[in-house]
């Protein structure tokens, strides 16, 4: 650490210990480093426009990552989040552009939001039942919808790109509240609710207990199956919401691209935020921090003209670093 004081035996006691500091605050340090880098290198970084772009992009990652964090907290994983996004995103325009939706705009918009969310919830229920009742390994159970979910979405839209012009629906992705993107506020609101759920409610306590030691949780009367189904349903509905937001941002629904590779971003954000893959920990605001880091890295590379493919490698390195810090923390 310090090179001035190398006398043996006279171990400097005042030296700042980087190891433990990085382990507990690694995410914040990474964020600071990326911000600093951008301020120095990236042209026009300190502009409101940059903030808007990043908030509107990060919100979807953050929303899905929070759901993923809950699933991971029970020791599971959900690979189907991207496919659920595609499915709910494909359904919305079909509903508000239908004859019924155009005849009753208010009802049409409501249905275009509620029905896809119900479908997403059902997808989560399906995942949950496979994992909890049929004891299928989470990675395999959610692989089913990972593959078929996007397929269903493409069948619904005949594989076409659906473009539309519907200001009310687009508010989800382009609206502003107090000058900042609507979906950013939405993500914060969801985070606050989930934080309350995890720290104050019996459901939250059981989620952590199931992830920490499933046998012990069950023998102490914890409703293990219901808890597992619950987290997959929450993850499903949040993914559905993120799918709607993406469609609203683009004013177009592309079932082939919506949510593509989102499962990786969400898992990465959750892990960078401090979730343990073996379960037992659910850092909700950590997931948001993780999502911000992932998004900023993407943005940094893009803004500096680095190719997309390289961005993927950068993402992999971040995950590696986060997992390494976790292992060091566990000893």
């Amino acid at each position: 650490m310090s090179t001035q004081d190398t006398e043996l035996g006279a171990r400097p006691t005042k030296t700042f210990e980087w190891g433990p500091f990085l382990r507990t605050n690694g995410g914040l340090v990474a964020l600071a480093v990326i911000l600093l880098f951008n301020i120095i290198v990236t042209p026009n970084f300190l502009q409101m426009q940059t903030l808007f772009v990043n908030i509107s992009q990060v919100a979807t990652i953050a929303i899905v990552a929070m759901g993923m964090t809950l699933v991971i907290a029970t020791g599971g994983i959900d690979l189907s989040v991207g496919a659920i996004m595609a499915l709910s995103g494909a359904m919305a325009p079909l509903i508000f552009m239908s004859e019924f939706g155009q005849a009753n705009p208010a009802l049409g918009i409501t249905a275009a939001i509620v029905v896809p969310l119900i479908a997403a919830l059902a997808c989560g229920l399906f995942n949950g039942i496979l994992v909890a009742n049929l004891k299928v390994q989470p990675i395999i159970a959610t692989l089913i919808l990972f593959i078929s979910g996007r397929g269903i979405a493409q069948v619904l839209t005949n594989g076409n790109l659906q473009t539309f012009s519907n200001p009310s629906f687009s508010y989800l992705g382009t609206g502003k509240v107090l000058g900042l993107p609507f979906q950013g506020w939405l993500a914060i609101a969801i985070a606050c609710v989930l934080f309350w759920v995890m720290s104050r409610t019996i459901f939250g306590r059981y989620v952590l207990a199931v992830g920490g030691n499933e046998r012990a949780a069950e023998l102490s009367g914890g409703p293990v199956k219901r808890v597992k189904i619950g987290v997959y349903m929450i993850c499903g509905v949040l993914s559905g919401l993120a799918g709607l937001i993406v469609v609203a941002i683009n004013s177009a629904s592309d079932a082939a691209r919506n949510g593509n590779l989102m499962e990786l971003d969400a898992i990465a954000a959750a892990v960078v935020g401090g979730a343990l893959l073996q379960g037992g920990r659910a850092p909700i605001f950590g997931a948001i921090l993780g999502a911000v880091i992932i998004q900023l890295v993407k943005y940094t590379l893009l803004a500096n003209g680095v190719e997309d493919e390289v961005a993927l490698i950068a993402k992999a390195i971040i995950i590696l670093a986060a997992v390494y810090l976790q292992m060091a923390r566990k000893e």
Binding site: I202, R205, G212, N213, L219, R281
Partner: protein
């Protein structure tokens, strides 16, 4: 006699808190040396310094006549010190040969493993311990005892001069223990030293030569075991007078005092069957009564507990709770009905390691602490504070993760988890296993107090004195069936052993 190992004046502190101060340990070649002490006395720390897991702050270690410079477990192994941990560090899915030979496989052309030679050598190594098994089968297909012996065989095949065994018998049954003791004696004859750490004091008299006792990070006693008494060892561990303990009895229990005026019937089981490991089990439990379940490992004691608590599904028979025919389908239904089940395996089925003492303690009570899904945190903290005080749980504060507590204190938290639901029936499976003598007596006292308040207790214990002194009645099981029932006062350890031996005879 020149000692093989000599550790003296060993100091070690963690973050300023002293764990060892001036501890010492000497082991002669070919000696079986016991190391005892309460949890937190410093046994594990001393062993970890010896095996290079921790670095000592001060003191001298010589091994084989030379100053020892062991800085990692790997170097310890190279120097001839092998450790057999409580949790075996082997690979259950791979074959016996692969486990024994791992890292030292005989090679052909320097690259390919010569399997024929590997199997032959493995069989040869195991034969020295009198083990004759199929070395091609996965290790996990054998009993824990065999797995443990394989671990020892591997250690010895690597030319170990000192084998450290940490609680080697905690998961073995009586016949397996005999085999293990045979191996330990074989090691002694071959000139290999053994450092034997165990909470089961009776074992020490059977196989150890000398015993070192630690207390509060210091070595307080080292003596030949021949001529010592169990009482003296306990007294040294506790730092109390042997006579005091004799007067108070070995345990805090006094079974058989419930007498004729039994309370209301809490539970009756008739012909309860869950499979071959529990068949036609009957019992009646009253308020304020302790029923002991006796038997060897695998006799069906834990299975009976699991059947009553709704963990295993009944394939036959009936369980009546307070006179109502209501078989409990799930643990949560059992808890609802006022049942608590302290499981045998604290780590796998009891604690949630990363959760705090508070969260672990209130886990079973949670539904009653909750209104509209929200936990009443003020009441929760109040309750936890009450139990930490009442049970004397040693913890920095209620937010400390439970994994950082000693075994005895973890067990007290789990006991509190069940006391907190204000139970009618407590099923206690090995409540004092792996906890030190002091905590053991405190736990027994807690159990005695709740029985006095009218709780019915089903007690399972491998320690005969606990069950003999504790239970009002003992139901003796063998191979999943009840063989006899003994009633206190009047049960002696002898009588229980005879009942078990009798069943052994019948089974043969």
């Amino acid at each position: 006699m020149a000692e093989l190992l000599s550790m003296s004046g060993i100091d070690k502190a963690f973050a300023g808190v002293s764990a060892l101060s001036g501890a010492s340990l000497e082991i002669a070649p070919g000696e079986v040396h016991a190391l005892i002490g309460q949890n937190g006395a410093g046994k594990s720390t001393l062993i970890k310094i010896l095996t290079g897991v921790y670095r000592r702050d001060g003191g001298v270690v010589t091994f084989g006549g030379k100053d020892s410079v062991i800085n990692s477990p790997r170097e310890a192994q190279a120097a001839g010190i092998a450790t057999i941990y409580q949790e075996l560090n082997l690979v259950p899915l791979r074959s016996v040969t692969e486990n024994v030979m791992m890292g030292y496989e005989p090679k052909r052309l320097g690259v390919f493993i010569n399997w024929r030679e590997a199997h032959r050598r493995t069989r040869e190594i195991l034969a020295r311990f009198g083990i004759d098994i199929d070395v091609r089968a996965p290790l996990g297909s054998y009993s824990t005892a065999i797995q443990q012996l394989v671990a020892i065989a591997r250690a010895v095949s690597l030319d170990a001069r000192l084998v450290i065994m940490d609680e080697p018998t905690s998961s073995l049954d009586a016949s397996e223990v005999e085999v293990l003791f045979g191996v330990v004696k074989g090691l002694r004859e071959a000139g290999v030293s053994v450092l034997y750490v165990s909470h089961f004091l009776d074992e020490l008299f059977e196989i150890c030569d000398r015993v070192t006792t630690m207390r509060d990070g210091r070595t307080v006693d080292c003596r030949d075991i021949a001529g010592s008494t169990k009482l003296e060892l306990i007294a040294a561990m506790l730092g109390r007078d042997a006579d005091d303990i004799e007067q108070a009895g070995m345990t805090e229990f006094s079974g058989g005092t419930a007498g004729a005026d039994l309370g209301e019937v809490l539970l009756t089981a008739e012909n309860v069957t869950t499979g071959p490991r529990l068949t036609d089990f009957d019992m009646t439990l009253h308020r304020g009564e302790i029923i002991g379940l006796g038997g060897l490992l695998g006799a069906g004691r834990t299975e009976a507990a699991r059947a009553i608590f709704g963990v295993d599904r009944l394939t036959g028979g009936r369980i009546n709770v307070k006179g109502e025919a209501s078989g409990l389908e799930t643990p949560s239904a059992a808890i609802e009905a006022g049942f608590g089940y302290l499981t045998e395996d604290r780590k796998a089925e009891g604690i949630i390691p990363d959760m705090s003492v508070r969260e672990n303690l209130t886990l079973a009570l949670l539904p009653k602490l909750t209104k509209n899904g929200q936990i009443d945190r003020a009441r929760e903290r109040e309750l936890v504070a009450h139990y930490i005080k009442a049970l004397g749980i040693k913890t920095a504060n209620m937010e400390q993760p439970i994994r950082e507590l000693s075994g005895g204190n973890q067990q007290k938290v789990l006991l509190a988890r069940w006391l907190a639901i204000d139970p009618d029936v407590l099923i206690l499976d090995e409540p004092t296993r792996g906890v030190d003598v002091g905590a053991k007596r405190e736990i027994q006292a807690i159990i005695r107090d709740s029985v006095a308040k009218g709780v019915g207790v089903i007690l399972i214990s491998s320690e005969f004195e606990e069950i003999v002194e504790g239970a009002d009645r003992i139901i003796v099981l063998n191979e999943g069936r009840i063989v006899t029932e003994l009633t206190n006062p009047g049960i002696t350890e002898d009588a229980l052993v005879r009942a078990l031996a009798h069943t052994e005879g019948q089974a043969a």
